[in-house]
Symmetry: C2
Subunit: 632 residues, 2 copies
């Protein structure tokens, strides 16, 4: 088959592929994730690329306008490469990151900084190494080689001890190499300690694990020295599943077919493998010295990682196959570390409140908190937990992807060039709109925090009313009918030469998202029989959270009207929780306790939720008494 050369810009990454390969597949092969929510079916129209030079063949599609076509814009998934080609990935197509954002700062998890958590969760990693003086024990404990190992481990406080057959089979070979000293790696499974590895000599100093947050879009992993708890590095990559569909529902549907499940499983596993490989290269750690992997993520991601069909997650009674996942061998799912390494996944409460939330509750110490706290994780679903050491309730509100840049005309993810802050000033020639973009790039779209800021500003200036409708007072209104909207950035000031606009439909989508989240919080609070004022602290989790302007979020009625100091951004608590799950037996036990204790509130079964939702569709709310600071 003819091979052709493909170069992707702006990186200049060149790869060779067989002629006839589509550009979406080719980009993935080059390690570049393109935006795509339909899984390459030509339906969503998001994987737009620009052909600079070359020979391609493309079906006509309504998703590409005649003007776009003139400038060389194509849908990557519908475009097959025929000869050597140069492709430019457009900024808004690119699934990429704000450079320099560190998800898991080194100091956050060193024993010094997390003193309180190491007190809550004493170190007792998923795998531990023991140096066993076999030679010395021969006289003390006649019997058998494994019997001596067992005796030694029991002396160190281990309970029931098991061993797998492969390890037992290798034991004679290991002892032939060194009959005096062996290093035994044990793994913790509920109820027992399993000997997973016996190595000749003392290898106890090389002892590593990996904690992974498996997100729908991105996967983050950190490499940990299991002897000290030190984080040696953190890396993030796109979940390769992104090219099969951006949201969880698309992937669930794909996974219901066996080949689809296999593909999605393979995609997530390979992403994790690449992250681990990169982390070990950066830290000069051998893959075989990694014997423990802890994962956290939503229920769908965990099912796909373990290759369990997730179909029941979206079918009555909307429940996962299991709340707690068994500790397995990492090799069973194809994770390439030591072949005997164990993999443990944080369990979740329900289909829509998964291990990522359990990990958040764990890492914030809510199980031991005497003050009343709320954890809020805003994404396509807004997942939230309320409670303290005595009780915990949680729910998931279906917000939709508006705050993530989907279903809104100029919406985009929080990547360089995205508007994240908007100020509307009164100028001599009407309003003056000032925008701040991520990384200071020329603006090319608006991300979630930008929309919050924009809505707050539009409302404050009276450009939209409490129901979100344009009041027709602004001279920046453009377009007609559905396209009618407020021009935030003029074509000449934008990064792509087109105006950036917020339409009436955008506003409706955004208000539905914020109403769903606020109504969810209200339901939880009502369920607990308290008021928002009783909450001592609201933790906002996730990479997205840290860019929210709290004041704007309160103004539009997304967050309750509480003093700003009660809100705290806590970063990626899913990854942090996976770290504790990896490092501490108490944390693993606590996670099971959290799942038992946390009561899920099913919003679709709550008659008052819909009423709350309808009231929250207004800015900030129908009941202004709930937002005294906004009323002023």
């Amino acid at each position: 088959m003819k091979q052709v050369s493909l170069t992707f810009y702006p990186e200049g990454i060149r790869i060779t592929v067989p002629a006839g390969t589509d550009l979406l597949t080719a980009a993935l092969k080059a390690g570049l994730a393109l935006s795509s929510s339909c899984g390459g079916k030509g339906v969503c129209g998001r994987c737009r690329v620009k052909i600079k030079t070359g020979d391609v063949e493309s079906e006509p599609t309504g998703k590409i306008s005649a003007e776009d076509r003139r400038t060389g814009i194509y849908l990557a998934c519908r475009t097959l490469v025929r000869g050597d080609t140069e492709v430019e990935i457009l900024p808004q197509t690119r699934v990429s990151f704000r450079p320099g954002v560190e998800i898991f700062r080194r100091e956050e998890v060193t024993p010094e900084a997390k003193g309180c958590l190491f007190w809550l969760f004493p170190r007792h990693a998923l795998t531990r190494k023991f140096v066993v003086p076999m030679g010395k024990l021969v006289a003390q404990r006649p019997g058998s080689d494994f019997g001596r190992i067992e005796y030694f481990l029991k002396e160190q406080g281990s309970g029931e001890i098991s061993v797998n057959l492969a390890t037992l089979r290798r034991l004679p070979m290991v002892l032939q190499q060194n009959r005096e000293l062996v290093t035994v790696t044990v793994g913790e499974r509920p109820g027992l300690t399993e000997v997973i590895l016996v190595e000749p000599g003392d290898t106890s100093f090389s002892h590593y694990g990996v904690a992974v947050d498996v997100g729908t879009t991105t996967i983050s992993a950190c490499l940990v020295n299991l002897n000290t708890g030190q984080v040696l590095g953190t890396e993030m990559a796109f979940n390769r599943q992104v090219s099969y569909g951006e949201d969880v529902i698309t992937r669930m549907m794909m996974a219901e077919k066996e080949a689809g499940l296999e593909q999605l499983h393979h995609a997530v596993v390979e992403t994790i493998n690449e992250l681990i490989r990169s982390l070990t290269l950066g830290s000069r750690v051998n893959l075989t010295d990694i014997t423990a992997v802890a994962c956290s993520g939503n229920m769908t991601m965990m099912h796909l990682l373990l290759k369990i069909n997730p179909s029941f997650l979206r079918r009555e009674p909307y429940e996962p196959s299991t709340n707690n996942f068994p500790v397995i061998e990492a090799a069973e799912v194809g994770i390439r570390v030591n072949p005997s390494a164990l993999l443990a996944a944080v369990g979740g409460v329900s289909s829509y409140v998964g291990g990522d939330i359990t990990a958040g509750v764990l890492t914030l110490g809510l199980l031991n908190s005497s003050s009343l706290c709320m954890l809020l994780d805003i994404g396509t679903n807004g997942e939230m937990v309320l409670g303290n050491k005595d009780w915990l309730v949680c729910c998931s509100a279906s917000a939709g992807p508006a705050f993530e840049g989907s279903g809104v005309q100029d919406g985009m993810r929080a990547i360089p060039g995205a508007i994240e802050e908007v100020r509307i000033l009164s100028g001599p020639a009407g309003e003056l709109v000032e925008v701040e973009t991520i990384a200071g790039h020329p603006p090319i779209g608006i991300c979630g925090s930008g929309y919050m800021s924009l809505l707050a500003a539009l409302f404050e200036k009276g450009i939209i009313d409490r129901s979100g409708h344009f009041t027709e007072v602004s001279q920046r209104m453009v377009g007609r009918r559905e396209e009618r909207g407020y021009q935030v950035v003029a074509a000449e000031a934008s990064g792509h030469g087109r105006p950036i606009v917020i339409t009436q439909i955008d506003i409706e989508n955004l208000l539905r998202a914020k109403a769903a989240i606020y109504a969810g919080m209200t339901s939880l609070v009502r369920h607990a029989g308290i008021s928002f004022q009783d909450i001592d602290r609201i933790y906002i989790a996730g990479g997205f959270g840290s860019r929210i302007n709290i004041r704007s979020a309160i103004k539009i009625g997304l967050l309750p009207d509480l003093p700003e100091e009660r809100f705290q951004f806590v970063g990626n608590t899913s990854l942090q929780g996976a770290y504790w799950f990896l490092m501490s037996k108490s944390a693993r036990e606590a996670s099971r306790e959290i799942i038992n204790r946390m009561t899920p509130v099913e919003l679709s079964l709550d008659p008052e939720y819909m009423e709350e939702y309808l009231r929250a569709l207004f800015i900030p709310h129908t009941d202004l008494n709930l937002f005294p600071s906004v009323r002023k």
Copy 2:
């Protein structure tokens, strides 16, 4: 390659093999085990066959005399087949059984007959089935599918519950078939209960297990209904390893090479598979309804079954890799039953006191016995246990294979045609020798019990003295030098037309064997600070044991001089113990307790053992006071 036809007589089994195949290999392929202790190297000279017609090519060997050659006798291992051939397997070459011997009688293990043991070992099989009303539980226990199963099992009293990934992956498919009712099979592992299988609907009535005694020469298995404990059938077959060498040491040496370990492992596993297949065919049980396999055997057999290199068993400090074996999946070693079935093996105390002895102690209830008992298992090694509920000591005396028919000129296994009882009468023309053979066949050799009887008679008649030397008073003495001996059966009265003789060398070998066993028993008794008179009961285990004439054995000083009623034949206690191991959690726990409690006495380190041994080389012993009934 040219194929030739081979027919084995007396069965008339015909197979086709490539020209150039040796007859030992070909016989195994035909399912016929030939005697061979050198593993087909042409050294032991035991695999003698007779070529009736055909075309073979054979190396000259000192093991076949000129006369043998004239009558068509060849060594099977050194003889290659060139054309269609008919082979007769000589009776003494044939490894076969006394027909009609039932190792494990049905009534021995029904709950009625073994009431006392079912009281000691309440029924709690290695795997259990539970019918879980999933539909009903959905409302009662929202959460997850596996969570409901877990809840149900905990209500039934299970402790820590785990599940393997394969079962979890199948769960959605099973529930798609039946969301109301599923049958859950759980397996017992130390410290936890593992869900190994979930099936749609109620399959609880089909619930079977297999207990196996893995002997060096023969393997016995019984099929058990795990719901009732009923034994549906028992079968026995030759351990296919026999063709690689008859004794344990030959196999250990072979197993030290990786290919050898693989071959021996495969041989034992295939023998077990055939037994299981045959048992299920006979009982119309499906292989997939077998979810539990329990095995018992000596340490070498257990290492080979699990494919663990046994090399340390015969090297300082002569210890096994492990005393207790992990519960594994039967499929891990290639046992063909349900792919999720578990396999558990009874652990042992030391290299030479293995799981077969633990099983014996278990099945005889020694752990709870207030009377003082001894268990004696006579084979190539004489393994023995002494004790009661307060203490247990054990040892293994290296007797050598004389009582099994090896190293003695006309020795043979206890198969049809073997002399098992000898009486010497005085007649007018000198002594008259009456023999009884197994199955009443014409005599072709002497088995262990026959030699005991013969030695006792020779001694009684003064034909040998207390040191075992011929006194030259008999007219039946034949041959010269090393071949000089006493003619038991004349050529014309034997089944093969040759005389059956016991030589001076034979007697020396037999006395060494009996001395080793008696000295071992003496050492145990001395170690415990008691005398033989204090022993309430001596259990004699093994198929061999039941043919021993107790009086003869005492006369020659193999067994201590106690009243006959203190001796009891107990059959195959290894298989019986495997049955309890399969059926009862208490039995599995008791077996671990036995291993912890039983103190092995190392005879080679015991300075008095050698002295005892030298004293016991006499008939019955140097100290006649120890044998008052013989002295009379």
